[in-house]
Amino acid sequence: MDKTQVLLSLAVALFALGLVGVVVRRNVLILLMCMELMLNGVNLSLVTFAHQAASNVGAVLVFLVFVVAAAEIAIAIPIVLLLVRSKRTLDLSAYTDLKG
């Protein structure tokens, strides 16, 4: 089994686990963390391809993903906290205001 294949499989697994976590877990913060997991899986695949093709582009993209993830989490957590404060629960199944 090739190194690349292993790593790519891991990347896909991480991404899939993250997405499944979003679908499956109830806690809002855990949801956010699963989204971070997805980003990590993507990062891994980018790095793997960059390593395989020996080019800079992958690394640059990874760096940009870092920046975006940081910015995103900086805003996402406060939004979640405000939401939790108004709904008074962390359970995502209570957030059905957009129903219909």
Partner: protein
């Protein structure tokens, strides 16, 4: 503008003036315009008759307006004045004017005075179109128009639902007949390519005859005539039409409109000369109707209804005359009938006026001394209709009976016997009416009795004029006047010597009717009561008019209503059309509702959909890459 067009247009002007401005301009103005214009039309008609005579009776023809040019054929509004038109127009304008004058007195208290005269003038306009029209199309316009005017006038007091319904019934019954008329016109046009009546007559007088069944045309046109002239099976509207004002009954349902069918057949005589089956049908229906209506009239208790059934019966006489080929004689009877029937109806109106609205003859009696002029004119007219010589009715009825017996085109002893029996019944029920209304004990209500008064001059003068005409009108022999145009049917030589016998029998019948009525209804009236009790069952059937209206209702009206309601309304309109539309909307709504279930508001579900979608896309892309 030429004279014939002037005759036709004058009443139309009256309609517009009275219709639009009548209410504002007061009764005097309305009367002046409403009566003046028909009188002027009458004078113009006399002038035209003199012109006709001066011209050696060559028919006058004037085109007024080209209505349409379709393809190669031209349809125009043009007028035609020959002997037949002259007689009819004189009747229409003459008797019409008299009735207009009578209406001044009769309708004096009515609040829709202007509307009444407007409608009456409208009727006169359409009737003149009918009798003066040169083309069958113009005749048909007049035909329909008088139906319309009749509807408007029968339902004149439309606030009363029954009266409005009577107007509707008249219009619908006429319409059914008009379907046959239209079909006849279509056949004529498709075979001859023209609707001009003089050309149609020329085509049917020449030989070889056109390649179409004249009987077919004759029967189809006759169906229209049964509607308009109240023969079986479409006569049912005429008794109900008595809901309208009495002058209307006199003008429309006695003198002019109902004779339109007779005029039409007389005008198209060459077709019927060549259509023996149609003529037989005409004679048969005429005789049947005459007998039928006469039997009903024996028992009716409303003064106007008796006269209505009498009209139906007399029209039957006219159709018998037409059926045996004596067209001129039928027109003669139209002429005399106009006089005495109008006099009878107007006299009835005078009685009703005197009794403040009472129409039931069981509540009349002993009026002869109290309203003498009305009585005298009514008596003269009754004698005329019964066929007592030398009044007008005697001459015309006698001629009809003679040709019913002797004509080679359908006359037979049986027909003569039936018509004579009907004449006996006619005399009997008319004298019954006279006795019960004017003689015997007074059965009038007390309140009404105090107010009995003779009618005003506008009414009595007209009654007198018509009575005089009923008396002497018969001396001018219309059949001979019309003979150059409408030949009398041939009569076998062998039968000529029966002529005097038949005349004697006719006179005897008239006097027998008088005597019989005087016997049964005179004195205290007990004999009438006992007669009624003995024949109670028969009396009931006759009184209820043979239940024809109920039959029509059950066989035609109710099924039609059921079909309209169940099939067309509920099934067709509501279920199919509305249901389809609503169904489509409901489908759209339900689909939208179903699709809306996707929006659960649950983030887990949305993320799951993303996941599932991505799985599908990935699988699809791996397959197709």
């Amino acid at each position: 503008m030429s004279l014939l067009t002037l005759i036709v247009v004058l009443p139309l002007v009256g309609f517009f003036v009275n219709g639009i401005a009548g209410n504002r301009l007061g009764k005097g103005f309305v009367s002046a315009v409403g009566c003046g214009l028909p009188i002027i039309a009458f004078l113009v008609t006399i002038k035209c008759v003199l012109d006709l005579r001066a011209g050696g009776y060559v028919p006058l023809a004037e085109g007024a307006y080209t209505w349409a040019t379709i393809g190669g054929s031209e349809f125009g509004i043009s007028f035609y004045f020959d002997r037949l038109s002259a007689v009819m127009t004189l009747i229409v304008t003459g008797v019409g004017s008299l009735i207009h004058i009578y209406s001044i007195g009769y309708m004096h208290e009515d609040k829709s005075y202007a509307r009444y005269f407007a409608y009456l003038n409208l009727f006169l306009f359409f009737m003149l179109l009918l009798v003066l029209g040169k083309s069958l199309l113009v005749l048909f316009v007049g035909w329909e128009g008088v139906g319309l005017a009749s509807y408007l006038l029968i339902g004149f007091w439309f606030e009363d639902m029954d009266k409005a319904r009577a107007g509707k019934k008249a219009f619908i019954a006429n319409r059914i007949g008009d379907a046959g008329f239209l079909l006849g016109m279509f056949v004529l046009y498709s075979t001859l390519g023209t609707l001009e009546m003089d050309r149609i007559n020329a085509a049917f007088s020449a030989s070889p005859l056109p390649a179409v069944s004249a009987s077919l045309i004759g029967v189809l046109l006759f169906i229209g005539a049964t509607g308009k002239s109240a023969q079986i099976p479409l006569y049912v509207w005429l008794p109900d039409a008595m809901a309208g004002p009495t002058p209307v009954s006199a003008l429309i349902h006695a003198a002019t409109m109902v004779t339109a069918g007779v005029y039409m057949i007389a005008r198209l005589a060459p077709i019927y000369v060549n259509a023996p089956e149609a003529s037989q049908l005409v004679a048969f229906i005429g005789a049947l109707t005459a007998l039928f209506a006469a039997t009903i009239a024996l028992t009716q208790t409303d003064i106007k209804k008796v006269l209505a059934y009498s009209t139906v019966s007399q029209l039957g006489f006219m159709f018998v005359a037409l059926g045996v080929g004596a067209y001129g004689v039928a027109v003669f009877h139209v002429y005399t009938h106009a006089f005495f029937k109008a006099c009878l109806f107007l006299g009835a109106g005078s009685v009703i006026h005197a009794l403040s609205g009472e129409q039931d003859i069981r509540k009349m009696g002993a009026l002869a001394k109290k309203i003498p002029i009305t009585f005298a004119t009514f008596a003269i007219a009754t004698a005329a209709i019964a066929g007592i010589p030398p009044l007008a009715g005697f001459f015309s009825k006698d001629e009809i009976l003679w040709f019913a017996f002797a004509s080679e085109r359908g006359g037979s002893t049986l027909l003569w016997a039936v018509m004579s029996f009907t004449a006996l019944l006619t005399a009997f029920y008319m004298f019954r009416l006279l006795w019960l209304t004017f003689f015997g004990r007074s059965r009038v209500d007390h309140e009404v009795e105090h107010h009995i008064h003779e009618s005003p001059l506008s009414m009595t003068s007209v009654l007198a004029a018509l009575a005089v005409l009923s008396a002497v009108g018969g001396f001018f022999s219309i059949p001979h006047f019309l003979e150059p145009q409408l030949a009398l049917p041939p009569v076998p030589e062998s039968l000529h010597h029966y002529e005097t016998t038949l005349v004697a029998i006719a006179v005897a019948i008239g006097l027998a009717g008088l005597a019989g009525a005087a016997y049964v209804f005179g004195g205290t009236g007990d004999r009438a009561e006992r007669l009624r009790e003995r024949f109670a069952g028969v009396h009931k059937v006759l009184y209820d008019k043979y239940y024809v209206d109920e039959l029509y209702d059950a066989v035609i009206a109710r099924p039609l209503y059921w079909i309209s309601d169940r099939v067309f309304l509920r099934l067709g309109d509501r279920t199919l059309i509305d249901g389809t539309l609503n169904g489509m909307a409901a489908v759209a709504q339900r689909t939208a509702g179903l699709l809306g279930r996707v929006q659960t508001g649950s983030l887990h579900f949305y993320a799951f959909l993303v996941l599932a979608g991505m799985v599908a896309v990935v699988i699809w892309s791996w397959r197709h890459v």
